[in-house]
Symmetry: C2
């Protein structure tokens, strides 16, 4: 099956890196770099482990326990969604994750008394995106959905 996304254009990567969501994600990752070891690294390098090509995914076991690195990336991904929400509407959206050791679970983002995002996650050991652009699109969509919920129930989100 041919898919243009398998060989992403460089300018698509550039566009992805310029999205507010990916900027939030990069900011969160760089915030962990207490010793400046990643200072010279471009953003795309910091996000490299978020990208899993089709072939890489195919080579992974169907069932597997997530390792701490992939749980860290999942955590940063949803924290970045929360940060993107905050940038757009000023309300802090705090994430909460409950993942079993088998990589199944639930992620919640709440603002005030409102659940702005609720996702069941599975196969966490294979968490990743085919391209930077797909990573950007997924995070941007989640933040957008959350903003729509906040706009639907503004008083609850501020309660």
């Amino acid at each position: 099956m041919f898919d243009a996304a398998v060989t992403p254009a460089v300018d698509e990567d550039e566009a992805a890196l310029a999205t507010p969501f990916v900027k939030c994600l990069v900011r969160l990752i760089r915030a962990q770099d207490a010793n400046g070891a990643w200072e010279g690294k471009p953003d795309a390098d910091l996000l490299r482990d978020f990208i899993i090509s089709r072939d890489q995914r195919r080579a992974m076991p169907i069932i597997g326990d997530p390792d701490p690195d992939v749980l860290w990336r999942l955590d940063k991904f949803y924290a970045a969604v929360g940060l993107a929400i905050e940038e757009r509407c000023g309300l802090m959206a705090s994430p909460m994750m409950e993942i079993s050791h088998e990589g199944f679970g639930r992620v919640l983002l709440t603002a005030g008394r409102l659940v702005v995002l609720s996702r069941t996650v599975r196969d966490v050991h294979r968490f990743g995106f085919e391209t930077l652009w797909k990573l950007a699109a997924a995070g941007t969509k989640l933040a957008g959905d959350a903003i729509a919920a906040i706009e639907a129930y503004p008083d609850v989100a501020r309660a």
Copy 2:
């Protein structure tokens, strides 16, 4: 300091066991008894580990990592709050816990898009109540607060 609760009357225990919240808690605990080992045990015995007297608490270390048993009791306690909410208003309130290995964390109960209960928990290794009555009162109060939130935002709780 003298406190009547240090020597609880038996009828106070009886009253506690008759509250809807404690009945929910007992039901959840008995549901785990797949082999019927606890069938002959009275309810008060099943709840014994939830009760920590002042002297017992004083003997516990201030800082400590919660063991699986106390995490299990914390889980059952909040699940019982969720069940008591469901009994009273027909909406399922699902609990979510995020507890660090040091025993600090957060518990959320959500119904639909509404956060019906949000609690920061700490010192989980010392989780317990002085008397059965205090256990009943704590759970009943949490369920009552959650019901009040649902009544304040009924459409969000059903969203």
